[in-house]
């Protein structure tokens, strides 16, 4: 996947970086290690017009030093440097421990403290620790430097108190040598293996993994842990206490460094507490309400979030899809989880005047498979009535699902959609041609010649204007030929790699004396006779 085009500027000093950020030429993003920014740019979630690379400022921003009662960490200090610095290990051991858990060794060598803090990902390690420690972020701007307490620096997910044109230059962390501390990270990301684990006869999700430098014992061996359903169990009381503490911590960040009378030393609370407040900016009920009633396409709660038309619960494996503003499908919960989120969602549907109009419909599986790769599951349909739901499913399939758009009418009978959980299977069942060759920007005469040579394939010929790179999925091509004799075509070839349909498809570039253009899998000589194209094309087509 290739980021959208941008202008690249290198800054040799902070002063130069600030001048470049202020310069005209469109919105600028700061590039340091790039391990938060580049993935976002590759996914096209962000498309800055310019990148200002502060990598060369390492001399100015790459240091770790003690100043009075604070440890001052430059923005370009990498996670690796933080994790291995004897100074940090001695003065702020929790920070070293958290940094050692970021990503993996390669990521830690490139990713920087400044980048992680400015990216403000609630799931990242350093923002939570910065909050827990009551750190201060130092930001440089055209008007000079200012200090922002961490509690004010993080505004929302991926949003900070920095204005455009400002640059994070350092973070100042109170030295807490000798403090008692613990860093626990909980991740909802499935970490492989079965997603359910039997525990004392009860089933509960195993997607939660706890790891960190210190582990709390999980109970006696052989004795099942108390159920999470019981409000009186020690586990429930402990998490209720933790949640209460998190709420309080949110109001008073300074509490995180309260004095512990027994130890006579300052104590750091677990950053999970601070992180919870950070994440809790919008709670789960508000997210459900935004999704059901306000057609929200992005919202983030403690255990649910919305991405476009999907509300994802409890990690990845429960979800609600919005088919249209008043038609929803909700994945049936088997086995039941301990949350009431699906009940809350059902209540929200009822409040909107929607009702459950049945479980499953032949079109749900292709839709959900395409949307979130969850095909083989049962779903509850919520709509004003069954006919509305049926109509919405058909619209969704014909407009948004790749394998039906090519031929109207292939929705056909129910048996034709006996969905095999694979798009390839679906295509065979619905009777589409076995191979589609898409040519983009190729002369019509040449395309016609090709069509004669490939009678068993369907040839689709389009101009660049007709076929923007992200739109070709609707044709379900097996092979793309793009005229790459000029920059327009070469750009198109790069762009198609970033779109869902182009990522795994062979793309051939038509060139005049040259090798394959970037992003393509092969070259076809523009002035060669059509016979010379046949063999390379055949080689790229599925058998």
């Amino acid at each position: 996947v290739i980021p959208a085009a941008f202008a690249y500027q290198r800054a040799g000093s902070v002063a130069e970086a600030l001048a470049l950020l202020e310069a005209p030429g469109g919105d600028a993003a700061v590039l340091a290690g790039g391990h938060s920014l580049l993935p976002m740019m590759k996914l096209r979630r962000t498309r800055p017009a310019r990148l200002v690379d502060i990598g060369p400022c390492a001399g100015e921003l790459g240091g770790i030093a003690v100043e009075g009662s604070e440890v001052v960490i430059g923005a370009l200090v990498t996670h690796h440097a933080l994790a291995t610095s004897p100074l940090v290990a001695g003065q702020v051991p929790i920070l070293a421990a958290a940094a050692a858990l970021v990503g993996d060794p390669q990521v830690r060598r490139r990713g920087t403290v400044g980048g992680s803090l400015s990216h403000a990902d609630p799931a990242a390690d350093l923002p939570g620790v910065a909050l827990a420690l009551g750190a201060t972020v130092v930001v440089a701007g055209p008007a000079g430097r200012r200090r922002v307490p961490a509690a004010e620096f993080f505004v929302a997910r991926n949003r900070t108190a920095m204005a455009p044109g400002e640059l994070l230059v350092e973070v100042r962390v109170p030295a807490v040598a000798g403090a008692r501390w613990s860093y626990q990270r909980l991740t909802r990301r499935p970490v492989g293996g079965p997603r359910h684990r039997r525990h004392g006869g009860r089933v509960r999700p195993a997607g939660c993994r706890r790891h960190g430098p210190t582990r709390r014992p999980q109970g006696q061996p052989g004795v099942p842990p108390p159920s999470r359903r019981s409000p009186d169990s020690p586990g429930a009381r402990r998490s209720a206490a933790l949640r209460a503490r998190a709420r309080q911590a949110g109001r008073t960040a300074s509490m995180m460094r309260s004095r512990d009378p027994r130890a006579g030393r300052r104590t750091c609370r677990v950053p999970v507490a601070a992180g919870a407040r950070y994440v809790d900016a919008v709670n789960d009920r508000e997210v459900i309400d935004a999704f059901v009633n306000q057609e929200s396409r992005a919202a983030f709660g403690a255990t649910v979030h919305v991405e476009a038309d999907v509300l994802i619960l409890d990690g990845w494996w429960h979800a609600i899809l919005r088919i249209s503003p008043d038609v929803f499908v909700m994945r049936n919960e088997t086995p039941p989880s301990t949350t009431t989120l699906l009940d809350d969602a059902a209540a929200a549907f009822t409040d909107r005047g929607l009702q459950c109009v049945g479980e499953d419909h032949p079109l749900i599986q292709p839709i959900t498979y395409t949307a979130i790769s969850l095909g083989a599951a049962s779903w509850t349909v919520w709509a004003t009535d069954a006919a509305t739901a049926d109509a919405a499913f058909r619209v969704k399939l014909t407009t948004e699902t790749e394998f039906v758009a090519a031929e109207p009418g292939v929705l056909g009978t129910e048996s034709a959609l006996g969905f095999s959980a694979e798009l390839g299977g679906a295509r065979r069942l619905s009777g589409l041609p076995s191979s589609v060759i898409l040519t983009v920007g190729v002369e019509t005469a040449r395309a016609d010649e090709l069509a004669l040579q490939f009678p068993d394939c369907r040839l689709e010929s389009r101009s660049f204007e007709e076929m923007p790179p992200e739109a070709c999925g609707a044709l379900i091509p097996n092979l793309i030929i793009v005229d790459a004799t000029d920059q327009v075509g070469r750009d198109w070839a790069m762009e198609v790699r970033a779109s869902a349909c182009g990522r795994f498809l062979p793309v051939l570039g038509v060139v005049r004396d040259g090798g394959p253009p970037l992003g393509t899998d092969g070259a076809l000589e523009a002035d060669a006779p059509v016979d010379a194209w046949i063999e390379p094309l055949r080689a790229m087509l599925p058998a």
């Binding site: 996947v1 993935p39 990598g55 490139r110």
Partner: protein, 154 residues
């Protein structure tokens, strides 16, 4: 943008687009296809190369970020007609099956051993946590890295 850097010891100067990733630069411009692109999201480690001797994931580094630096790919780890001790150990210990993850694994291991010449098994496993093997041949990979460490101690 003009890019000057060293690839496997040889100085190069190329005109590249700023958005070109280091992995694509190495594969498509320099022609060193030993650097593989697996997940393209800095998860799998197949694209690992050494930047100034330290392992990085080249699918999440812009080529222009390597300006003035030295890059080592699997092709440049040893000469054309011999194997690096880590490669030798991978061969001896059957540290590969399909081979897709191997260049990244080897380079990550080289970087690990540069920092920690005599790692424990646990340290090897942690040190390679950024590299995925879909054949799940991790046991032999870990053995290979430990064998390479032992060989260098002799």
């Amino acid at each position: 943008v003009k890019l000057r850097l060293q690839v496997n010891g040889a100085a190069r100067a190329d005109d590249v687009e700023p958005r070109l990733l280091l992995a694509d630069y190495l594969r498509d411009v320099v022609g060193l296809t030993g650097t593989l692109v697996g997940c393209d999201t800095s998860s799998c480690g197949a694209c690992t190369v050494l930047l100034e001797g330290r392992a990085v994931k080249s699918c999440t580094v812009l080529a222009v970020q390597a300006e003035g630096r030295s890059v080592t790919t699997i092709e440049g780890l040893a000469g054309p007609d011999r194997l690096h001790p880590v490669q030798e150990a991978f061969r001896a210990c059957h540290g590969l099956q399909c081979g897709f993850c191997t260049p990244g694994m080897v380079l990550a291991a080289v970087s690990l051993l540069a920092e920690c010449p005599q790692p424990t098994e646990a340290e090897v496993r942690r040190g390679l946590e950024g590299n995925l093997c879909r054949c799940t041949g991790y046991h032999n990979i870990v053995r290979a890295v430990l064998a390479a460490a032992a060989a260098s101690a002799r």
